[in-house]
């Protein structure tokens, strides 16, 4: 049980370390790399103890209740596949964490960088250990986010920002697809746990589920046509490229396919799609690598190729192919991370990573050269390296298969040959031959930067020599987890001349050496062809800028900055809100049943107003009309006063003396203030509206007015609930001891309301004071100043 809780800690510890990383960096700068590397190293050692049990066929699982109400668990599982990945991540991670502070020495944000790296490692470990698909999704997205932060680490460069956004957008499209796929699978199987899945091949939604997971895997693992973000991601500092964009994060897609192949695999669609896309990616990446002269870009392209190769192998799905997946993954992680670190060291020590500007570094950087050579041997696939085993396994069993297998074999041989050629280029070209002057005077890299390439390069050979251990402890459990059935190993150090796989390897080597010798010619040729192609990268820019333009157009359409149009919208909504319910809920019918008018003359009663009441109403109408037609400011102000006075008189006539007095006072004050202000302004008080505006505004005004009138009539035709008024009337004297009921309501029953009202008045007063006190000759006065100068 203690062990099991430790599994969850494996995924959590790096996050804690990530939080502490900036502090560690600040207070122990020279040792920070060594200290922080302890975390992944401890995880690596902790995970080593599972090799024995897992090799014996055990599966170690643990779960933390996440949302128990929904049956959600944060479940983790260690089997051969996840253990292989987790060991690789933590092992390579320890060397990278050691390497990074030396590479970025003196960078002001190194602590932040280390935090991002460790957080990424936690996400990646969580991803490969997760059993719950939701946990997998969460960690998957976390790797995308940390990758974004790391690619954009040098955020002052536009290329880095673009690459970061591109990687985030592409991998998040896949992340969304993964979520949809996970939810679909949950609906089909009734469980979030991957370990509980059976085969989904016959399910009705199989095609959709497959499409979702394939999009997720292809975007993350940079398969054609989503491959273009990976070379751009090389904008990141080299430790990031070595860790995320070769050995770990981009392998998440491969991991997902491998993990799901017992559930989704075995169908024609599965193998067909994986073979076609994987094969295309392999060749595209391998050729792309030969096009480049930048060492880092070359390696990035070979990573695309290797990812394509792994996808192809998963698509093949045979026992040997599955075994090859495991061996190739480990071999690739070792040599590719090592070569990236070598390139980083070359870049760091010489100031360039252009292969044509480098040569003869072996004397000056002997240890770096040894690391590069060891890694390249494995990449080239000579015997006694992991790369050799990977190649043997993938060739085995294909040569006597149907034509599809032969075709796949041809693609694999060609791809491996081109990759081998790139391996030779990277390891030989900068180090051997005549010495070339470099921007910086080259010297050996510090020990922290050498440890990675040397250890990983050596590991690629040591692991191969320990054949039985490799076969029993890594290959068999890993391949069995992918196949869903025990896979026996037949790795042997013996070189068997009768095996056709060996002769295919020899063919591969021959082609690789040929391609190495003709590299310059191939490069020129590829560049000539490549410049004609319209790249997916440009499509991405077109889509992104199209999105920005679309957003801009929508914003301008809705947020046009013309006040009267905003108000038109507001009042159009008011008109609809008034008229629609009247029509839909029968309000008009209740007032005036149009279908059955009956004796309509009886309804046409003259309102029972007294003569003086008529006079007041007429006064209001006159005031209103005068405001409308006033053609000088004094008439407008006086007319405003007239309608206000009429309102006050109405209050007075219908038993509201308090209101009448207040209204009178307010009207007088309004008229006085308005007259004072308006005489100071040379305003044009007449209304200039074009005819169409007049029509629009007039219609809206009439509809709103009529709507309010009709709604009010509907209200009046109903009964009034006087409960509240009755309560106030009955209790005003006995309880509140006030005879004026309105005043009692204001200062007693609704005292807080009145307090709020006073606060509003005070706030308005303060604002007015502030506005008037602001000095007229304030600095910000652009319109007049501009007018004066222009």
């Amino acid at each position: 049980m203690e062990l099991n809780a430790g599994i969850a800690l494996v995924a959590i510890a790096p996050f804690i370390a990530a939080l502490l990383a900036p502090l560690v960096q600040r207070f122990s700068a020279p040792l920070a790399g060594w200290l922080l590397a302890l975390v992944p190293a401890a995880i690596f050692v902790f995970l080593l103890q599972f090799i024995g049990p897992v090799a014996d066929g055990q599966i170690v699982a643990t779960a933390i209740d996440w949302v128990p109400a929904y049956g959600l668990k944060l479940s983790f599982l260690i089997d051969g596949l996840s253990l292989t990945f987790a060991l690789t991540i933590s092992g390579v991670g320890a060397l990278i964490v050691l390497y990074a502070p030396a590479y970025l020495k003196g960078h002001p944000h190194l602590g932040r960088f280390m935090g991002f790296m460790l957080a990424f490692m936690g996400a990646m470990l969580g991803l490969v250990l997760a059993d719950s698909m939701l946990a997998l999704f969460a960690f998957w997205e976390l790797t995308s986010v940390t990758s974004f932060l790391l690619i954009g680490f040098d955020h002052s460069r536009q290329a880095a920002r673009r690459a970061a956004i591109q990687a985030l957008v592409i991998t998040n499209v896949g992340g969304m697809a993964l979520l949809v796929g996970a939810i679909l699978v949950r609906q089909l199987s009734g469980s979030w746990e991957i370990s509980a899945l059976g085969s989904l091949a016959g399910e009705p939604l199989y095609g959709l589920v497959l499409a979702c997971f394939l999009i997720a895997a292809f975007t993350k693992s940079a398969q054609v046509p989503f491959h273009f973000w990976l070379p751009n991601a090389m904008e990141a500092p080299t430790p990031v490229s070595a860790f995320l964009h070769s050995a770990t994060m981009v392998q998440a897609g491969v991991y997902l396919l491998a993990r799901l192949s017992p559930s989704l695999g075995g169908t024609a669609a599965w193998s067909g799609i994986l073979l076609v896309f994987g094969g295309a990616t392999l060749l595209w990446g391998a050729l792309g690598a030969l096009r480049q002269t930048d060492l880092k870009q070359m390696l990035a392209q070979t990573t695309i190729a290797s990812l394509g190769l792994l996808v192809m192998l998963i698509g093949l799905g045979s026992e040997t192919a599955t075994a090859a997946v495991i061996v190739y993954f480990v071999a690739h992680a070792f040599y590719k991370a090592a070569l990236f670190m070598v390139v980083g060291a070359i870049d760091h020590e010489t100031g360039t990573r252009d292969i044509t500007a480098l040569g003869g570094l072996a004397d000056r950087m002997p240890l770096t050269f040894i690391g590069a050579a060891l890694a390249a041997l494995s990449m080239f696939g000579l015997p006694f390296t992991l790369g050799f085993f990977a190649k043997e396994e993938m060739y085995a069993g294909l040569s006597d298969g149907p034509w599809q297998d032969i075709f796949a074999l041809a693609v694999l041989v060609a791809g491996n040959a081109l990759l081998g050629a790139v391996g030779l280029l990277v390891a030989i070209k900068p180090f051997l031959g005549a010495e070339v002057t470099t921007p910086k005077s080259a010297h050996e890299a510090p020990i922290a930067m050498l440890a990675g390439p040397l250890v990983l390069g050596a590991a690629g050979i040591v692991a191969a020599v320990m054949t039985d251990w490799l076969a029993h402890s890594v290959l068999e459990p890993g391949a069995s987890a992918i196949m869903g059935a025990p896979v026996p190993s037949h790795l042997t150090l013996m070189i068997n001349p009768a095996s056709i796989a060996l002769w295919l390897s020899v063919l591969t080597w021959g082609l690789a050496v040929l391609a190495y010798q003709q590299a310059a010619t191939i490069r020129t040729l590829l560049r000539r062809v490549g410049s004609l192609l319209w790249t997916a990268d440009q499509v991405f820019d077109a889509v992104m800028f199209g999105l920005i333009r679309f957003a801009g157009a929508v914003t301008r359409a809705l947020h046009h900055g013309r006040l009267e149009l905003y108000l038109v919208t507001v009042f159009a909504m008011l008109a609809l809100a008034l008229v629609l319910p009247l029509l839909a809920l029968g309000g008009i019918d209740a007032l005036l049943p149009l279908s059955d008018l009956g004796d309509w003359s009886a309804r046409l009663a003259w309102p029972d107003l007294q003569l003086y009441e008529w006079a007041v109403a007429l006064l209001a109408v006159v005031g209103l009309v005068a405001v409308l037609v006033a053609d000088n400011r004094l008439v407008a102000i006086v007319s405003l006063g007239i309608q206000g006075t009429a309102v006050a008189l109405i209050f007075l006539l219908f038993g509201a003396p308090d209101l009448a007095f207040t209204q009178f006072m307010v009207e007088v004050l309004s008229v006085v203030i308005l007259a004072l202000v308006m005489t100071r302004l040379r305003l044009d008080e007449r209304d200039h509206r074009p005819f169409e505006d007049l029509l629009r505004d007039g219609t809206l005004a009439l509809v709103c007015g009529a709507g309010v009138s009709l709604a009010l009539m509907v209200v009046l035709s109903g009964t009034l609930d006087t409960k509240l008024s009755d309560f106030f009337t009955a209790t005003s004297v006995p309880v509140a001891h006030g005879a004026n009921i309105v005043n009692v309501i204001l200062v007693d029953y609704r005292g807080f309301d009145t307090l709020g009202e006073i606060s509003v008045v005070m706030g308005a007063g303060i604002a007015i004071l502030a506005l008037l006190r602001r000095k007229k000759a304030a600095p910000a006065k652009p319109s007049r100043a501009q007018k004066a100068t222009s």
């Binding site: 038109v568 219908f654 308090d658 005004a701 309010v708 009010l712 506005l771 007049r784």
Partner: protein, 125 residues
């Protein structure tokens, strides 16, 4: 009698809306005032009209002797009138200051914050 006032309320609202839709700030201000008066009358009328009897309890009594005007809408309107006046004063001063600073009383020409030729969103990363 109530229905006649309902028609009058409609007139107030219609004129208020019409003035608010103007581009001239000062007319919008008149519109705010008239719209406010219309809404006050609306509340007043919705609480039913009673002629001449103010909601005041005569001295020496616990309850009003006969039917009185509805006191609740009156209390609400009293608050509304005061707040409406505060807002009117504020808007007036704001318009005055805007005229001084921007030399404009027309909303179409008040484009300091959102100029007509505002820059498009940047097409870069």
């Amino acid at each position: 009698m109530d229905y006649a006032l309902a028609v009058l309320v409609g007139l107030f609202i219609a004129l208020g809306v019409y003035l608010l839709l103007s581009r001239s700030i000062i007319r919008m201000l008149l519109g705010v005032t008239i719209f406010g008066n219309g809404v006050n009358l609306l509340i007043f009328t919705a609480g039913r009209l009673t002629r001449e009897v103010a909601p005041i309890v005569p001295a020496g009594l616990d309850q009003p002797a006969g039917p009185i005007a509805n006191p609740l809408p009156q209390a609400l309107i009293l608050t509304a009138i005061v707040i409406g006046f505060a807002m009117f004063s504020f808007l007036l001063v704001l318009a005055y200051r805007a005229y001084q600073e921007l030399d404009a009383d027309n909303t179409d020409t008040m484009r300091l914050a959102e100029p007509e030729d505002a820059p498009r969103p940047p097409l870069s990363y």
